[in-house]
Symmetry: C2
Subunit: 740 residues, 2 copies
């Protein structure tokens, strides 16, 4: 159903009086839910209050205010550990204080590296020195900054290497397999790979495992340059000199401060030796053992052009105007990386707004603030929207509103190095968060366009859709949900048939991988998390051009996506904080487990068509399915009880259900964590060891089947421990008597 804005606005205006129930006048949210009288998770009475509250809060966020936040937040480069980083931490804290929240700096001292000298020189067949200089554009003052760090990779070690060059496509395991077939050896070579398909730390680790001496990672125009569309300043895509900085830390092993694995690192606290966490040969190492550097395609071009050897296999040709070759040589390249390692202060900003009825139930919302350079999209579009949501909630506070549950605002530091600020905080507050955190909502690169996207624990997919129905899409007279659904229906079928992730409902809410600050919450502490934002054509990731000018011109010219995001955050926080019944849906987790299990078994059967599963395997799989079914049944029964309790206003039952919902996701954690990665304790998903950002589903099972050596015994053991945790989760939901 399409609603005209005028109608929406007048309805909203008539709902301004905070306290008066408005059951007769449905709010936009209710209308956009198709005229449904009640709001899920709210009794009839509290639904009326909630509608009025949401109608009010939706009116507050302003596009111009988001623009002003973004202007301040992107004025100067502010990587973790920099002076400007501290200036912006103080700025964010001041804003939150101004809006009435007791914001404080929570600082840690963590290992960071800073580039002192970075050089890349081709020494054969002719000498060509890489410029390593991003070109500025006269209309865009920020692009000329002198304060940006030299082009480097966070957590790359120092090292000077001269060796023949080999091109390895995206640097994924299958790419090295193709090189092996072609007889190309990467040992003792400098490997050049292109950005894309996986996290850059994976590229370095795969190269390191194969005994390459150094890695160059460059941005190919086929991936985010002119092959995609017009490049800056004509369009939003990456121009020839723009480089993608970024961390190469092995955060898929563990994020956070490398020297304090498992505990938070304050000034003077215990640290381990850096050597103990460095190099792929060291178990659990999170720091690369070989140096790496990022290059622009302007700088990569002469190197790639000077490769000999075979023409590349199908799918390896990029967008530069010549035929690519694998090498090795005749290009011979010197890579020189000099970094300084220091334990530096980083600053999270944390503000708690304590709930009136359930102060020990926390809704945590956060985003990082540190950026490799200006960080207009990544991360400050999210920070601007989050501040605007805080301002909106502050207005409600000014008018006397208090949340039933606690809301915690977080502005993280050092995310770019390896999710450091959020991970240290989660490690410090692990016990408390384990008891109290209802959910974590993450924004990060909140806006690079107008296309809504979300990832979440399956149990939170439904609430994301419901909130998307309550907010107008940027520059549209339809809801975010309507526009998102339309795009979702039009999107091409995924390459794999069958189950596609999350709870399997439409529009798709993806599974959470890694790559932003929800990681410690979701995968380490079992706090169900959401990551959301508005995306679009975006080719300036981690370059100096990810700046205010780019955002005004391409990403969000009227800042309407920012406003929509601020609205979504406001409504989402208020749904969580005010609901009579927490908007967590454990049955979706059961469904998702069954879907991913089927997916996994089908892939395995396809890979080994001759093999038939033995009796033991069959039983293990049946047990797991039964546990997931039991989880679904228990969740559905509990939801029915809760619905009745809502109607009957039975606070005792609702308290019991909410308590179980709060604890539900924690039951899916294993104490020991994944094999070789104790940080990753959640058995539903983890970042892929060989993919990095992307989620690996049912990771224990997946690794046992698809990582060499295939291990049937490990499959059985992993299936059993997953079954145990799923059964425990079901048992929790079944335990009606459970008090808080």
């Amino acid at each position: 159903m399409e609603l005209r804005t005028a109608t929406l606005l007048s309805l909203a205006a008539s709902a301004l009086a905070l306290a008066s129930p408005l059951a007769a006048t449905p709010s936009p949210t209710a209308i956009q839910e198709g005229g449904q009288a009640r709001l899920r998770g709210f009794s009839a009475r509290s639904a009326a209050d909630q509608r009025a509250l949401e109608a009010k809060v939706l009116e507050i966020p302003k596009a111009e205010q988001c623009r002003q936040f973004l202007r301040v937040l992107t004025e100067d480069p502010h990587p973790a550990g920099s002076e400007q980083g501290k200036v912006l931490a103080d700025y964010v804290r001041s804003r939150l204080l101004e809006y009435g929240f007791n914001a404080e700096l929570v600082s840690y001292e963590v290992l960071l590296n800073t580039p002192k000298k970075i050089e890349v020189t081709m020494v054969e067949p002719q000498e060509v020195k890489a410029k390593l200089k991003e070109a500025g554009h006269p209309w865009d003052k920020d692009s000329f900054t002198n304060a940006a760090l030299p082009h480097f990779h966070g957590y790359s070690p120092s090292g000077t290497v001269t060796a023949d060059l080999v091109y390895a496509n995206y640097g994924m395991p299958e790419d090295y397999e193709r090189l092996r077939e072609l007889g190309v050896d990467v040992r003792e070579k400098v490997v050049i790979v292109r950005y894309g398909k996986c996290y850059r730390g994976v590229k370095v680790r795969e190269a390191e495992e194969r005994r390459a001496k150094a890695v160059i990672i460059y941005s190919d125009p086929a991936d985010d340059g002119y092959v995609k569309g017009d490049v800056f300043p004509r369009g939003p895509w990456r121009p020839e000199s723009a480089v993608q900085r970024g961390s190469v830390g092995y955060m898929f092993i563990a994020p956070g401060d490398p020297l304090s694995p498992g505990w938070h690192s304050s000034k003077g606290s215990r640290r381990i030796e850096q050597a103990a966490v460095t190099g792929v040969g060291t178990p659990g190492a999170v720091l690369p053992g070989i140096p790496s550097v990022p290059l622009s395609y302007e700088d990569a071009k002469p190197l790639l052009e000077s490769l000999s050897g075979a023409n590349v296999p199908e799918g390896w040709q990029g967008g530069l105007p010549f035929a690519y070759h694998t090498g090795p040589g005749p290009a011979r390249v010197r890579v020189q990386v000099e970094v300084e390692w220091e334990n530096k202060l980083i600053h999270n900003v944390i503000a708690r707004w304590t709930g009136t009825q359930n102060p020990d139930e926390w809704i945590v919302v956060g985003n990082h603030r540190d950026a490799w350079v200006h960080g207009a999209v990544d991360p400050n579009s999210g920070t601007a929207s989050l501040l605007e949501a805080a301002r909106a909630l502050g207005k409600l506070k000014d008018q006397g509103f208090r949340p039933k549950r606690s809301i915690v605002f977080c502005s993280w530091d050092a995310e770019e190095y390896g999710l450091v600020g959020s991970t240290e905080w989660c490690e410090e507050l692990a016990a408390e968060l384990g008891k109290k955190a209802v959910a974590y909502v993450n924004v990060d690169s909140g806006v690079s366009g107008a296309n809504f996207h979300a990832s979440a624990a399956p149990s939170l997919a439904r609430i994301v859709r419901e909130v998307a129905a309550a907010v107008e899409a940027p520059r549209e007279r339809r809801s975010v949900l309507d526009v998102w659904s339309e795009r979702d229906r039009a999107r091409k079928a995924p390459a794999e048939p069958g189950y596609v992730g999350g709870d399997g409902e439409a529009p798709r809410v993806a599974d959470l991988g890694s790559g932003s600050d929800y990681t410690a919450f979701q995968h380490h502490l079992g706090v169900p998390s959401i990551d959301l934002g508005f995306g679009g054509p975006y080719g300036v990731y981690h370059s100096v051009l990810d700046d205010f000018f780019w955002m005004e011109r391409f990403g969000d010219p009227g800042f309407e996506s920012h406003r929509a995001l601020a609205r979504i955050l406001s409504v989402l926080l208020l749904r969580f904080s005010q609901a009579d019944l927490l908007p967590i849906r454990p049955s979706a987790t059961g469904t998702a487990i069954l879907g991913h299990l089927e997916d996994l078994l089908r892939k395995d059967a396809q890979a080994r068509p001759a093999e038939k599963p033995n009796e033991e395997r069959r039983k293990a799989v049946d047990d797991l399915k039964a546990a997931a079914q039991r989880l679904i049944s228990a969740a559905n029964a509990m939801e029915s009880d809760a619905e009745r309790a809502l109607e009957a206003a039975d606070a005792g039952v609702l308290d019991s259900v909410n308590s179980r919902l709060l604890r539900f996701e924690r039951e899916l954690l294993s104490k020991e964590g994944l094999l070789g990665r104790p940080f990753y304790r959640h058995l539903y998903a983890a970042p892929g060891l060989h993919a990095g950002y992307a989620a690996l589903m049912l990771p224990g099972l997946h690794e046992s089947l698809f990582e060499a050596p295939r291990d049937e015994a490990k499959f059985l053991a992993e299936a059993r421990r997953l079954t145990e945790r799923v059964a425990a989760a079901a048992e929790l939901l079944e335990s009606k008597g459970a008090a808080k």
Copy 2:
């Protein structure tokens, strides 16, 4: 089964005595057929003779001789109507005379255009004049020739047009549909499209239909340039200045001399007005009404770079190093084409070797000789191989061998303009060929690599595979069939599930479209045809670089593919000429019709899922299926009869069967031809109106369903006339009494 060459050679050597039956010593052919004792289509006695004959002929072709032929044939540019064209006609005639065949020139006077002045100039936003000059390379003397015609399109009219430029991808109907959706109008514009996906004449006709004023067709590096691999002289792909000449005649309406449709055009014979066959508005027109020119990507680059408008849709971006746009403008281009139209003499060379037992059963083999420039691949690799096959057969003749059936060698002229030489000859000899031609074998671009490929009437697919089993693959110790089968199994599944063409057996023998000299034989006269050769990476099509140097360096360095092709032609001709039972398999045609029918109906059902076929449609389809089934049954019964007759040496039955096999394909012709294209009389396949080279299967049915306006009544009528012809073919096969 893999045979060592040494074994093969010793076996062959022991089989040299022509007349002695060698039943005890199986020839390579028999061995490679898996030890099968008899040779299909031969009685036990004649099989022994045939094996000996083939063993002998296989020894004759020499790589070095092919190299020498190719050197002479590619020494100078020799387009149709040129002096060098006549020189080479005489050369080919002399060779055939030398080998003992009564070769003669068969000349026609046909309409050709010759470029006088070709210019392409961008006049806005800045003046850039296209170079229209292919760069030579010092190692390759032929690349510096001054005798090549200016870059032009055969059969393009003269015209000078200045207009804004629009980029239309490949210029296919769906590309114009996307432009329409984007609001881009091509009326009164110069349209620039890239080569690929369809015949260039289709590109011009689609543009002309949409009222564009001129067409530029350029070679994008994504299609046959550096995106595919190394460009000349480092590799076989197209370098920046190399242009693809070619005809833009509407040969999918009718090939041959434009001014003598349906009859052959001798000096002074009747001609129609050129205006009567020019312009898309004229029914049956075969000459474009708007000018067109080919461009290299060096010349296209500044034009495409100067386009504004939207970034192109997905799939439209080519390999030049910038984001493509649709336009229109600001690029404004002047296209100037001045051509001279003349009726010029062209020269086929025809040599008949009359059969001893069945002189009125002809096996025709041919290739064209004219080339846009040197034509090393296209067409002289085929001509060199054909001459070498003729030399081999001439050796047999010297030793007293005479074929049972007649063999006719043909060297066509003016193929490049529109299959003119072969079409005129077919028109002149239509009645005789209709009675006598058993099959036509075409080579054309016989060698651009080492990968065997073939297209054929379904009834001839089996003999192609059988002959491929009898010849060693280039630089391999396995048969052509083995190597071909291996590649065929590895090839990716076609985009469409289900039936993929030809007789549906493996390795795939494709259906014949258009684009070479089999067209008049197969589609106009119903002479079942074969087109075959060895392909490979080939980016210099119709450029000056398709020369001897390219062939020696990339296409066929040791000329082993040429030798293999000469051997295949020799064996194929001898199988046809000597077989007791003609190697034509009508059941395959029935199978192919059923397969394509199902394909068509599935596509239609997918396009209109709501629609259910009505009773009339169902009946028409059932009738057609029944006729095809009847054809298959009749063919199988006849084949069984023939097998028995072979064993019993029953010449009467074999004569009757052969007579019916010879006439079989003719039964599938309709008198009237396809709607609007009376030249195309075969109801099984025709070139696509909107695809050009590619075969359109069951074209009457296809056009009624998939060309606007969809016409159900036409479908019924087309189904009925196809059913009638298929039933007539079945009836022919059933008519045991039929004498010659």
